[in-house]
Amino acid sequence: MTTIAIPQGMPQYDGVPRFDVEKVRADFPILGREVNGYPMVYLDSGNTSQKPRQVIDAMREHIERHNGNVARSVHQVGTEATEAYEGARAKVAQFISASTPDEIVFTKNATEAINVVAYAFSNAAPGSRFALKPGDEIVISEMEHHSNIVPWQLLCERTGAKLRWFSVTDAGRLDLSSLEELVNERTKIVSYALVSNVLGTINPVSAITARAREVGAFVMLDASQAVPHMPVDVTDLGVDFIAFTGHKMCGPTGIGVLWGRHELLAEMPPVLGGGSMIETVSMERSTFAPPPARFEAGTPPITEAVGLGAAVDYLTALDMRAVQWHEKELTAYALDALATVPGLRLFGPNVPVGRGGTLSFALDGVHPHDVGQILDSVGVEVRVGHHCARPICQRYGVPAMTRASFYLYTTVEEVDALVRGLEQVRKVFD
């Protein structure tokens, strides 16, 4: 594989751990398949990642040998299942440097994780620090996924609070020039993507967090596109909540994570009521379990948690710094390669600095749907459409974009296949 030559005087990159991408690819059974007679080139990992054999095996073994319900059984398999489920929680906690596993709430996905926080605000008793009233403000950004827009819009409708937006610069960065005005004494929560699912931008945290602290606002990060791709340490970030999802980080669908600072989770009211989330139930009223159980009503996704735990083990063994470096090299290569395609307009940062391996673009005169269809005919799988982020598409004046997104198993040869595929697209529509 081509590698980037590290310039003299940048010793900080000397010690970056690496991995052999072909060895990694051998762990992913699906990467051996063909699509329309061509070797599959999977460039849609921002949508969902593929799963290594280690994850598939862990889930199969759990079902075959340890299946029982959690947290309520005295029997052997129930105990084993509980240990597996809580063990997965501990692995995830360690992966993001949470201070205790109790700060990890398992949800269905990142969307649900964000909703749990949004509902904590609308369910909060008056006077609680989560309570919202007309005149209060919530700040998000123009580059958010719908999952970090709609829950806040609904919360504003329920409470009379006002939704405000960070704008995005032409270069695809958050515009922080109005930070002081935008995040002010009325602001109750600031919620934005750590890494954009469309532009690939890695957004700054410390300046926004510092301003939020000054005015007493909470900070939440949608880390769905960050946790799979780079080391994420919640202690370093210094925020209040992060949300991410299992299926974008080599794990299965059906499981996501809300991390919250423990004293905040402990104050938050529940969202879903039911089994497992209670302390005691009488016919008059119920009291609720402490977090994380308070937010995990009903039988949770046990096998999926086991799968996520295996995914965390897999990523930890590779080393997230190596994953990050691999994608940085690929991104640098891809930015150069895409720049050679006539009529291609890239959205988002055009340098491999402060951005991840998610590249969205438009091809002159060809609708993304057609781009995606012709790429698929040569085995190249990309995402087309508005990427569940219509405001950012509107920001750039396009109804839709084509997006290639990389992961730890992506190769430069696959980037080349994308570029060749785009030539094919231009031929059809010439």
Binding site: S147, H367, H369, Q373, G385, F429
Partner: protein, 167 residues
Amino acid sequence: MQIDQLYQEIILDHYKHPHGRGLREPFGGEAHHVNPTCGDEVTIRVATDDGSFSDISYDGMGCSISQASASVLHELLTGRATGEAFQVVDGFVELMGGRGQVTPDEDLLGDGVAFAGVARYPARVKCALLPWMAFKDAAARAGVGPSSQSSQSSPSVAAQEAPEVKA
């Protein structure tokens, strides 16, 4: 290459050189349909005169399939008696719902037969149908509906104005 079945020359030709594009006055009914999964949009206006569609004008933006489909619709239905026009609509809808198993009637569908290949791509059927569903709505707003003998309802197509948004 298999993809040629989808991107027939006729379709690409209608996309690059659309027939009758642009919204015109007067009109009796107008409808705007969107496909939220890809952002395709089309607006259709119909004008009727003495039992036929005297003009069908349209505008939109989107993929080649949706925009070529609007051009073909304009060409096929403008000037037709309303009853006959709805027979064409039914024929096209049937072709699109046929998963590639329906043999298109060229006498009825004209350039529309080029869309037979689209029916093999379930994700693109919605694109091809977008202008046709907008046309039906626009016609209904102009007070024209399918006559009873051709009112066979369409299969489970995206006729809604705001179908579900995929996240």
